[in-house]
Structure formats: structure tokens, C-alpha cells
Amino acid sequence: MIERVHSIGRGAFRLLRRPFSRAFDSEQNPLNYLGALTVFFLWIILVSGIWLLIFFRTSVSAAFDSVEYLTREQWYLGGVMRSLHRYASDAAIITILLHVIKEFVFDRYRSVRWFNWVTGIPLIWIVFPLGITGYWLVWDELAQYVAISSAELIDRIPIFTDSMAGNFLSDDVLSDRFFTLMAFLHLIGLPIFLVFGIWLHVFRLSGPRINPPRRMMAAALLCMLVLSAVFPAVSHEKANLAMTPQVLRLDWFYLHVYPLIQMWSPGWVWALLIGVSSVIVIAPWAPPAKKILPAVVDLGNCNGCRRCVDDCPFGAVEMVPRTDGLNYSHQASVSSNLCVSCGLCVGACPTATPFRSRSALIPGIDMPDRSAADIREDIIRHGARQSGSTHVLVFACDGDQQAEILRRAGVDVVTLNCMGHLQPSYIDFVLSRRYTDGVLLLGCQDGNCNYRYGALWTEQRVGRQRDPRLRKRTDTGRIALGWMSPWSEHADVVKKYEAFRDKVQRDHPVGETVEPAL
């Protein structure tokens, strides 16, 4: 059932992704930086909010006038800041929503990744009140509607003896203290919880991507600035509690639930909000359970080089004092609570080399469900099958749809837990031992890697920028990094494969000598 939901969601996301892939390089694709973009929008909100705070006056009589001054009199700066504040807040809702959907449909929320998922839910519960209290402070007709409806919602919580909504019956009974309270929540209380919540959300990740690339930040800021200039945010009429606003320009990003308060009842709206939140919170434990087999360390082959520690994107490997008496100070240790079974540690391990012939291929760290020896066996089996024509061997992430298309087209595909699972010496191995003429690495794009850094580490290892590096003797002209998103242009993958095979055939005719292994 849940796999079916993921599959439908992936299909929908694929449709969304297609035009994005045509418009952006993977490094500049906003869909690869949804969480980081949200943080960037929060920076815009913070900076613009500080400017608004300088001129804002927290009282019933002066709040509206101070916002009007910013919007009308100081339109060139205050008005732009107000619009930026509002539109960046709205944009953040879009990026948050897409971020949540993406993590869900690509199944990055279950098993050991539950923590990041669950700690994201309070952030949503903080962001919405943050936006709603912001609308309240303007004290126009929309604020009046928001205040009354929010009070009706809060009154439904059965712990208050007096009605909060009763404070908004007339201008005479409304107190400035309400504005002080709202200003405190909007300016200090909720932002503090938000910052702490973001820290909690990412602190288990190794090297979390907090900021998007500079060019993307500049583009997003320019985008918001142009919108603010062309379509500045303005207030409704000043709030008047003796009258009821008739038609409102509702901000649907934040206030979409509010019409339901009138259409249903506050009780049903609470039921909806709590119900949806509860479903999201328990989603990681919904059956069927996702089985993860963590990496295992073989002390006899671990020399404590700590490359696995450096490359693990989830902080699941750490160095601990040696326990087996060998002449190394430390050894790798895997935390099964954090390991997502991506295999990036194996790709980083210098002992995971297929050239080993004197002893069995047991690296210092290995995956129980897809061992380094299994991968070598697969390579040898595919190599034995190849005919006299040019042969290109594909290494692909497990479950990659493009790899499946290639496999159905008769292409030899060796699957890995993640592209970063591939230790570079395997590429040298297949080429120097002439198991193949070319190697196509079919991984996810950088930002879309299911395990965060699989494609990036591979790119750097093959580019000889990161240990373990591809040997210098290996002809990189025979290697293609097929960083095609697994969600776009599926029909092209066979053509791309054929184009690369033709290139290899052209540049390296069959029979050409390949430098033998040493």
C-alpha cells in the first residue's frame, strides 16, 4: 500500500521535475535545495522583519498607521521590505511543502531517518503561527478576521474558562496587551523555537546543506524583489470591530484553514489538524517495516584510516580506540541506529579493492546485503558474457528506474546500494582486466542523491580530487558520469547509453590495447 503511494507520488514529482531539469543544471536546480532554500527565505524574512520592526508600533490605534506609513510614505524601502517579508514567507511554504512531499515519495523518512522526519513536524507547527501572527499585527480587516477566527479556534481548547474571542467584540474592549503578546510571539517567542527546531532537524546529518548555491540565492532574492516591486503587498481597510469584513484577499499559503472554521466548526478544524499531523508523525512506522542492514567492520582489514568516517553523510561511522591489539590506534565503529546502508563507507575504504587475489575480498567495512565480493562476482559474470563488439558496463543505484530500462534493453547493469558505494578501483579493475570497454555510472544527480552525497563523492573520486582516487593510468575517456535525474527524460537513457557506447567505439576501437593491471 505505502509503496503504491510512494510510486504515485514519484510519478507526480517526476512530472514536476521534468521542466525544472530542462531549465536548470543540477547544481542550480531549486528542487535539489528545497530545505536550504527554505532557510534562505527565512533569512530574507529576518532581515526585512528587522527593518519593519524599527517603524512598527504595537498598539491598537497605531499598528495600522505604522504599517501604512511603511507601505505608502516609505514605499521605496519600507514598502519593499514589507512585500519581501510577506512573499518570502509565502515562498517558504511552497519550499517546505515540496520538501516534505519529496522526502516522503522517495522514502527518505523511514527506518533510521525517522528523526529528521519527526523533528520537521514541529517546524511546520511553528511556521504557520509565525505567519498568522504576522498578519494579526497589521490590524486591518484581514487581521480582524484572523484575530477573531484564531480566537474562536483557541476557545475550542477546553482549558480556558473565558472566551478569547469575546475580546474582539468591539474596539472599546480590545486591549493593547494583545498586540504586545502577538508581537512577542511573532518577533521573539516563535523565531527562537524555529531556530532551535531547525538545528534539531539537521543535527544528526553530517555536513547538512544549510545554504543553497550563491547564484541560486541571488536568483531567489531577485525573484522576490521583482515581485515586491511589481506587486507590492498592501493592507485592507483599517480594522473596525463594529463592522464585519465582507470580501478578503486571503493569503492562501497561511490562511487556507480559516474558511473551514466558519464552514465546519473549530472542533472539526482541530480534528483535521491534529489528525493530519498524527498521520505524518507515525508515518515512519507504518507497515511494512523498512529493513536496514547496517555496514559491518572487519577489524582484520580495518587500518583505522577514517575515510569511512569522513564520507558517511549520516554520521553513522566513528573512530574508536582499537580493541583487537593490532598496531593501529583506532578502528571504525558503525552505529546501527544511524546507518542507512548506503555503502558510501565501502566506496571510501582503500581495502575494498577487487584486485585482491591472495586473500578473500573482505574489506575493512562492507555491506552485508551487497558485499564487495558480490559486486566483483557480478562484474566477472557480465564480462564473461560480452561479445566481440564494444561493451559498456553500467553501474547503477539499486532501484534506479533508468537502470531498469537499460537492463530490459539488454544492457549489462551492476547494481549498488548507491553510486558512492562503488570504490574507484572497480572502474580500473573492469577496464584494465578488459571486462568492458567503457563504464557508465548511472547515479542520481547531486542534489537528488537518496543518500545525500553518493554522486558527489563519486564525481570527486573519479575526478581524482577525493580519496580513494581513481588511478592515473585509468583512461577517463572510457568513463561517463550519467548524472541524469532518475525522474526525468526516461526515454532518453537508452539513447544516451548508445551515444556513449558509440563514442567509446569511435575513440577506442575494439582490439585496442588497454594498459594491463600491474
Partner: protein, 163 residues
Amino acid sequence: MRLFREIFAYALFAAIVGLLSVWPRYALVDAEEAIISLSFSHAGKRVGECRTLSQEELNELPPNMRKPTDCPRERHPVRVELRSGDDLLYKDLLAPSGIWADGKANVYCRIVVPAGIHEIFVGMNDGVIEDGFAFQNQASVDIRPGRNLVIHFDEQSQQFLFQ
């Protein structure tokens, strides 16, 4: 070409943000409608009579607890009815608040009505009287379109006020 696509993508994003931040518009009430807000808090009468303690009983109590009367905490629910002419707009039996049912009963409701002249009647019973109301008020009120007519019970004057 890719740059133009990129610019178009950001422009589309901005358009979606700008559009959904104000549109579609939401009609809270129609142009010829108004709101009647009924809101007040009132404590019902206690369910039993207060009993005057004898001097002997008072002597048995600690000095700081020697109240001359012993009253039951629980209060009656409050019955409220709001009508416009023959139309019943609101009717409820409001339970007292608090886990001992000794607090005030609260009512807050907003009712959409057509604008125009309304013969408003509001009544409240806070005791055991089955028929009739202990407090009531009636008035002919011209409610303009969009107006928010507030009806509340003033504890000081012990009467319903229309504002």
C-alpha cells in the same frame, strides 16, 4: 536558451506566490448580510441553598476557614435563547465551566443574518425556573449590511445590551 528557461521558471514561481497570496478572494458575508455576535459569561445560580453554620460548627473549623455560610460549589447550567422575530437564531443550555462545575458559563457565537430591521429578543435563565427567563431584552434593531451587532450581558447592570 537555458538562461531564459531559468528566468521563466523563477518568474512563474513569483507569479504563483503573488497570485495565491491574494487570490481567490474569500467572501466572509454577502453584501446584504450582517453579523449578530452573542457573547457573555455568566455564572448560574448554585444548585443548593447556602447553609448558615452554627457557632459550634464554626469552632470546629480552623480559624482561617471559619466562613459563616457553607455553600455547595456546583452551579446550574445557563439557558440562553436568541430570536429574530419568529426565527430562532440560537438556543443552548450552557454548562458551567470548571471540573467542579462551579465556574461561569460562556457563550460566544456569530450568526449571519440578512441586513435590515430585526425584532431581536434575547433571554437567559440561570436558575431552576423551567419557563420564562430571569433576564431578557427585546428591541427593534436596524442592522446595516456588514454590521456586527454585539449582544452581551452586563454583569453590573444585570441586563442584556445591544451594541
